[in-house]
């Protein structure tokens, strides 16, 4: 497929050097008419403008692809299948999964372990540590701490490793669906 060949390396490249990109809030002149659904106070809006103006080619390559002249529904379905198999999307998905799957395993194991320990090993949990504070208290506060830490880590990971690439894909995909059949909604 022409469009896949055209987009994959570029999109993948954009994903690779993502951490070096400036913060998405840079004051770049907005590229009029490119924000379809989003409002102007939308945090994505600035990011969109920056992405287009940086001319790393992701969006432009997508735009340059000739519109498939097919029946509308079919065209849109093709676009999504194609985007899913693109290297850029696979990279975004891989990064998402690489974080959330181990992360979820960690917090679920830690939580289930905590609950099971509380019900089956009350002796261990009741062991005093300092003053009135015992193991159970520390474990409970540890759950609070780990929740706060994982929340921070997730948002940081998403912001630095996923947002930019996902945004590029969003606009190029929307561009493709629009040209292939009048767009979505």
């Amino acid at each position: 497929m022409q469009s896949r060949n055209g987009r994959s390396p570029v999109g993948g490249g954009a994903a690779e050097d993502l951490p070096e990109h400036p913060a998405p809030r840079d004051p770049v002149p907005p590229d009029g008419g490119q924000g379809p659904a989003a409002g102007y106070d939308d945090p994505w809006y600035d990011a969109l403008a920056a992405g287009w103006a940086e001319a790393d080619g992701a969006g432009l390559a997508a735009r340059a692809v000739p519109a498939p002249r097919r029946e509308r529904e079919r065209g849109v379905a093709e676009v999504y299948l194609e985007v899913r198999s693109s290297a850029a999307f696979q990279e975004v998905r891989r990064r998402y999964r690489r974080f959330v799957i181990p992360g979820a395993l960690v917090f679920l194991t830690w939580y289930v372990g905590y609950v099971v320990a509380a019900t089956s090993a009350p002796g261990l949990m009741a062991r005093p540590v300092a003053g009135a504070v015992n193991v159970a208290m520390l474990a409970g506060l540890g759950q609070f701490l780990s929740t706060f830490l994982l929340t921070w880590a997730y948002t940081r990971h998403a912001r630095l490793r996923r947002d930019r690439a996902a945004l590029d894909l969003r606009w190029s995909t929307q561009e493709l669906t629009r040209s292939s059949g009048g767009g979505q909604r």
């Binding site: 300092a130 998403a158 929307q174």
Partner: protein, 530 residues
């Protein structure tokens, strides 16, 4: 309780009602009646606003009254609730918030229906969402009832019933006239009030113990009558294997249920993008975590300062611990300080109940109108009609919740919320996870996943000691008890996942590869998101 308490608390509460009604009027002034406006408030809230609203929606009477009561009466076992309520937000943050925002419009069913045949999955997901909402509503109504009983002292029953009815009527007004925009602002106001009130009480407790947490814990332990066991797990959920299994069941339900609560899911559609949805979850994790840490102090504070006998005398399941603690912190029942603080806390608790009730009613009326009605009506209806249906549905749900609330008034509020979480985790979470992450998932699998979780969860509750067969059941006279656990999660959550898998592997229709690609791409990139 004397007349001063009542008058002051009623005045403060009336002020809250007046403010929220003013918000509702002001907001509905410029409403244009679209579904976008009614269900999602125009999708233009900021992450901070939505974060406050999320925590407002989530921190219900169960947290403010129920959990503190459980900590005050059972010590550490109450704290286990708090941990589950908080850790649940990681599931929401990792798997739900962004993805659902990207590929849904108003409800859970939208996400599923995008991949499947629309009609059956809308009916299934709509039914389960309404069921969860009604259970959750009942818990709030019970909270309102016990609060009033405390406030009005022995004058009891009639006043209690009228309060439940009044709360129900107010929530219908908010939702029908204000839609999501008014509901969100009410949540924000309530959230600020409740967090403010909690901070004040926490500071007062800590001041009373000169900032010495160890001293607070020791006093609570001594006064509880349980000795060292008060600070270790096992007082409520120790003993036989059923009690322990019950607790593990509750723990699973709490952690997995939040991500399936309809009124939490619908909040993610009030912000413009997935990134904003993520940031609103971060706000709410911070606010909710901070609130629960303070709740622990308040619970032990109530045990130390008020004492279990007084708590139990006022409300057998501990729902009135915080107001009683406030009375004590202010200087006691006959002082101005005590009266004022008590009235403030009672008013905040009322506001909490009212706001949460409005949020849930909105979400469930959306399920009725957008999912059930839309799937069952004849083709050719207009969108205008759908919002009208949602307004009528709000009234109907209000009536059901009032009736059940009057029936269930002697149960602990936090416990009732645990049931709602179990049903949400069994019926809503499996279908959502499969839809977002399983390539081969089919329509039959989706329908089976919903009913395969919903039916066992509800059935097991009906057959559990909650409903019959023990002295504190809803119907103590009847004996239908065949299931030993009070919370069905440990059985019904795996059943939901199992049914979804079974339905998928037995279905004749192959999974729609293109639709799955669409869901996957849209959920991770936001392409085509509304």
């Amino acid at each position: 309780m004397n007349g001063h308490h009542q008058a002051l608390a009623l005045a403060l509460f009336s002020a809250f009602v007046a403010v929220t009604l003013a918000i509702t009027t002001w907001v509905s002034r410029k409403r244009h009646g679209s579904a976008e406006e009614f269900y999602a408030g125009g999708r233009l809230f900021s992450p901070m606003e939505n974060g406050f609203a999320l925590s407002g929606d989530y921190l219900s009477a169960a947290s403010f009254l129920g959990v503190t009561g459980l900590i005050a009466l059972f010590g550490y076992d109450g704290l286990l609730y708090v941990v589950g309520f908080l850790v649940a937000w990681l599931v929401v943050l990792f798997f739900v918030a962004e993805l659902v925002r990207n590929c849904g419009r108003f409800t859970l069913a939208d996400v599923v229906a995008a991949r499947m045949r629309e009609r059956p999955v809308r009916i299934a997901a709509g039914t389960s969402s309404v069921t969860v909402s009604v259970l959750y509503l009942v818990a709030q109504m019970v909270g309102a009832g016990s609060l009033v009983a405390l406030l009005l002292g022995g004058t009891g029953e009639a006043a209690r019933s009228w309060t439940v009815i009044g709360v129900g009527a107010l929530m219908v007004v908010y939702v029908s006239f204000g839609g999501m925009r008014a509901t969100t602002w009410i949540q924000i106001v309530k959230s600020v009030l409740m967090l403010g009130g909690t901070v004040v009480l926490t500071v007062l407790v800590l001041v009373r113990f000169h900032g010495n947490v160890d001293d607070l814990l020791r006093t609570a332990t001594d006064r509880s009558g349980h000795g060292k066991a008060f600070l270790a797990p096992g007082l409520k959920y120790g003993g036989g294997w059923t009690a322990r299994a019950d607790f593990v069941s509750l723990g699973l339900a709490l952690v997995l249920g939040t991500a399936g609560l309809p009124h939490i899911l619908s909040r993610f559609f009030t912000v413009p993008t997935a990134r904003a949805a993520r940031r609103s979850v971060v706000w709410s994790v911070g606010l909710i975590g901070g609130f629960y840490l303070m709740t622990i102090v308040l619970g032990f504070g109530a045990a130390a300062l008020v004492g279990p006998e007084a708590l139990k005398k006022s409300d057998a399941s501990g729902n009135t611990a915080v107001p009683l603690l406030a009375l004590d912190l202010g200087g006691g029942a006959d002082t101005t300080g005590g009266t004022v603080l008590f009235a403030v806390v009672a008013a905040v608790a009322f506001a909490t109940i009212l706001a949460v009730v409005a949020g849930i009613t909105l979400a469930s009326s959306a399920s009725v109108a957008h999912d059930l009605y839309a799937a069952l009506r004849r083709p050719g209806g207009r969108q205008r009609g759908e919002v009208g249906v949602a307004r009528v549905a709000a009234v109907g749900i209000g009536v059901v919740a009032i009736a059940l609330g009057l029936l269930a008034r002697d149960l602990n509020v936090a416990f009732l919320v645990g049931l709602a979480f179990a049903v949400a985790a069994s019926a809503n979470l499996p279908v959502l996870m499969y839809t977002l992450f399983w390539r081969g998932f089919t329509t039959r699998g989706a329908v089976w996943a919903v009913y395969g979780g919903l039916v066992p969860a509800v059935l097991l509750v009906v057959l559990s000691p909650v409903v019959s067969g023990s002295p504190d059941s809803l119907f103590p006279g009847v004996d239908l008890q065949y299931f030993p656990l009070r919370n069905p999660g440990i059985v019904s959550i795996p059943l939901g996942f199992l049914a979804g898998w079974l339905g998928t592997v037995t279905s004749a229709e192959p999974p729609d590869e293109a639709k799955h690609a669409e869901t996957e791409v849209r959920s991770l990139t936001g392409a085509g998101a509304v």
